[in-house]
Symmetry: C2
Subunit: 491 residues, 2 copies
């Protein structure tokens, strides 16, 4: 077993260094003085160089060849699977290409920000073309002659295939469009009113984070421009943001990030600082953040409890009772921006991007036609026109940094959350009574036991199938959304 | 010049990774959740492993051999000097010994903390013996047959020799003891009175940090248990602490750390993330922190201005006028603890440690006799007995973590500060008028131009000699102390 021990020692150090690099990223968004930006990018590049050298270390190949997998337990075999995956991936991409992608995407992110500020897609198109060409080349190198988009998708959702997602998403789209249209024919419920002290928002948000099981002794909550979760194991930090007129932004960003963070915190400590010691895929990660945020956090039962907390924290908040508060929390409204969208429309934003980015990768769509394609699709699904690229094709950073294949994991996460929610309802019949008392322990405990603790032990799809006792399907999500919003809007 | 470019590229990445490791240390003391401690030590160990491998990379030897130093400018030759120094040092110490020192000192630090809490030197003695033996072995490996203590000292103060320091310190000791005795025969001046809001202390401390030239756009001030400065170049952070009854603790800790931080911030940007891009020695570093804190920050002129700031921030502070405030700032009092000492007695604490640690290294003193030796020397120099080891031999962490050879750099820094202060007075005849208006720009500008900007370009002694136009000597420090405290106490 010597080769396995050597391999694991190497993998542990790599995982530890990955955590260090992640913490640098956290620092950059929360604590770093602004004048340190240039120096920081050199520091990050040096860390990336170290990590890349470790991931391609030829000794990994020797160790892998020397290990007899038959002698290992499930966890050992899963460690090997993850290490082999990472090693093969790293070695398939020529160093020249990896460096070029790093260089061009870093430049492209800046140009994207400028183009968005100037509302000028044409200014962004040339470098987007470069990013796309490089990622296509990388996908081809990774695909072993198979589908290039699938090879890219595999980075974020191991084992997923675009064709399977297409079938699932194809079933979602018409029913979400129909639900959206039916809702927006109805009068909009009242929103909150008032100004909400930002200190009180942060106090309440920390309290809610703990209610959802976030372990503050192994994490912390800070403010940042964009909410995110960072780190694995015993140091998992989240950020949120506050706006004086919109306390839901802070609260639900926090609950979402707490879902991500609890996943990382609750992974079996036996996997700490190993390849299994982090969330297994972006889709499973998003399933946790979304079920915390939506199926639990935006439920009638929980919002009833939250209404009381909000009144205690802020006094009169402009809605009279629990029902009105529930309606305000779940208001469906027209909007251009994915990240500001509601449960009903969110996935329509994602499906649009999924279809467009596959077309870009396969060359069915050229970059010069992207803005028009976006606007056409948006008008078709959302019923009103995009007026400015900053509200359309330029709204997300993802493509500028080369994240082709990432978007579908958002909706896959919602689909998984739908499946998990149905199974959770079966497992915990008293769920609503608990949520109405602000008690999340049994719900989050079930997610911990069935999903979170396993880290990277099973492949994503297997993990969800085992947790739910059924193959993943879009049906539970659709049924949940149609029932919830049908009742809310009297459809 | 290819080998030089390759060498410098390697050195830059190493410097960048060193900054990353330093930032982890900062995070640990300021932001890290307490439950992350175990994981963090694995992360730090992984970073140390990376850094050690880079410092001993055999390519460095090849590059050094291939470079013709004659073709380089001063900065290039200084870079080579620093790189060669670090490479040779790293290669002289066997990996086995380095790992053993890391393991034992980490354990010893814990045992020291427990022994100090229990006031039990005997509980600490066995592991101190181990640490001492290991560092002796390391010193022997580094010394090439020369003096072992000098080899250890060289880590902190390149080029310094214990025999030279002994002569300098020998001249200090009797006059400091005499000054101390004369002062403590006189009545003690009044101290501050009142409770000082900790938020107001932090606000004032940030304002004072800026007055001393600390660039907040490339730094930040946080609270921590121990004040420190961390980082080089464009990301240099400091910490301070507050106590409600003692605002001087916060203010003067801050000014001290600002001295360290400004040194790092003011190094020529051409040296950013290179071996020359950090303070050249501990002694020179301490000269900057001490001249900011004492010769400038505790001067009659500056405290006159500070008195007004304190009154504005806190109202009545229990002393009536500038003279009384100046006396309170500079109160000399009996005390056991080095870090709480005043300008007059501070160096007596250091000289005691310097003499004892040399005796330990040379085996003139055995660990079992250390406590008694400490207590005898303390009674001789300070005139009253040590009653508990936590107030004596167990008060400092340094020896537990193996820092033999570090202590004398504190006093060397004070000696250098004395020399620089004399030269600064010559260069800026209007200094007191400026300080009385809270204007530090010309004083700190002179230190930046003569000392700080050069980073590691010159050796420490040369740097101070050039800045002062004279060889370093203890005389200016003694003259300054005797004049200042003679006037304050009417001697």
């Amino acid at each position: 077993m010597n080769a396995f021990d050597d391999l694991m020692r190497h993998a542990r150090d790599t995982a530890a260094l990955g955590q260090v690099a992640g913490r640098l990223g956290w620092d950059q968004e929360t604590m770093m003085p602004r004048g340190a930006a240039g120096q920081r990018s050199d520091e990050m590049a040096a860390m990336e160089g170290v990590l890349h050298a470790r991931r391609t270390d030829p000794r990994i190949g020797d160790w892998l060849a020397a290990i007899d997998g038959e002698t290992l337990d499930d966890a050992g075999r899963a460690q090997l699977r993850e290490i082999r995956r990472s090693f093969e991936r790293a070695n398939k991409v020529p160093a020249r290409l990896a460096a070029e992608i790093a260089r061009v995407t870093s430049q492209a992110q800046g140009q994207w920000a400028e183009a968005r500020a100037a509302d000028d897609f044409a200014a962004f198109a040339p470098i987007l073309r470069e990013v796309l060409a490089l990622r296509r080349e990388e996908g081809a190198a990774l695909s072993d002659g198979g589908d290039v988009y699938d090879a890219l998708l595999d980075d974020y959702e191991p084992g997923a295939k675009a064709a399977e997602l297409e079938a699932m998403f194809g079933a979602l789209r018409p029913r979400l469009v129909a639900l959206r249209e039916a809702i927006l024919d109805k009068p909009a419920p009242k929103g909150l009113e008032g100004t909400f002290d930002e200190g009180a928002q942060m106090k309440l948000t920390r309290q809610i984070a703990k209610v959802f099981g976030y372990d503050m002794s192994r994490g912390r909550v800070d403010k940042a421009v964009h909410p995110f979760s960072s780190g694995s194991g015993n140091d998992v930090r989240i950020t949120t943001r506050t706006a004086p007129e919109d306390p839901f932004n802070c609260l639900y960003s926090t609950i979402h990030e707490v879902g991500h963070a609890c996943y990382e915190q609750n992974i079996d400590q036996a996997y700490l600082l190993t390849p299994l010691g982090q969330g297994v895929s972006m889709g499973v990660h998003e399933s946790q953040s979304r079920i915390y945020e939506n199926q639990l956090g935006r439920s009638r039962a929980f919002t009833g409890w939250l209404f009381g907390q909000m009144r205690d924290a802020f006094g009169d908040i402009g809605v009279a009772d629990e029902e009105a508060f529930y309606a305000a929390v779940n208001r469906v409204h027209n909007g251009f921006i994915r990240t500001e969208s509601d449960e009903v429309q969110y996935n329509l934003h994602v499906l649009l991007r999924f279809d467009l980015e596959r077309a870009l990768i396969s060359r069915a769509l050229e970059v010069e036609d992207l803005e028009a394609a976006w606007n056409d699709r948006f008008a078709a699904d959302f019923g009103f026109p995009v007026t400015r690229p900053s509200q359309g094709v330029l709204q997300d950073v993802h493509w500028s940094v080369g994240l082709f294949g990432y978007f579908p994991t958002y909706t896959l996460g919602n689909v998984y959350a739908g499946c998990l929610h149905a199974a959770l309802r079966d497992a915990v019949p008293e769920l609503d009574a608990q949520l109405a008392r602000g008690e999340l322990a049994q719900a989050t405990g079930w997610l911990r036991d069935t999903v979170q603790q396993h880290g990277g032990l099973c492949t994503p799809r297997d993990l969800i199938a085992r947790a739910c006792g059924a193959e993943p399907s879009e049906k539970p999500l659709l049924e949940y959304l149609e029932a919830k919003f049908g009742a809310l809007y009297g459809l």
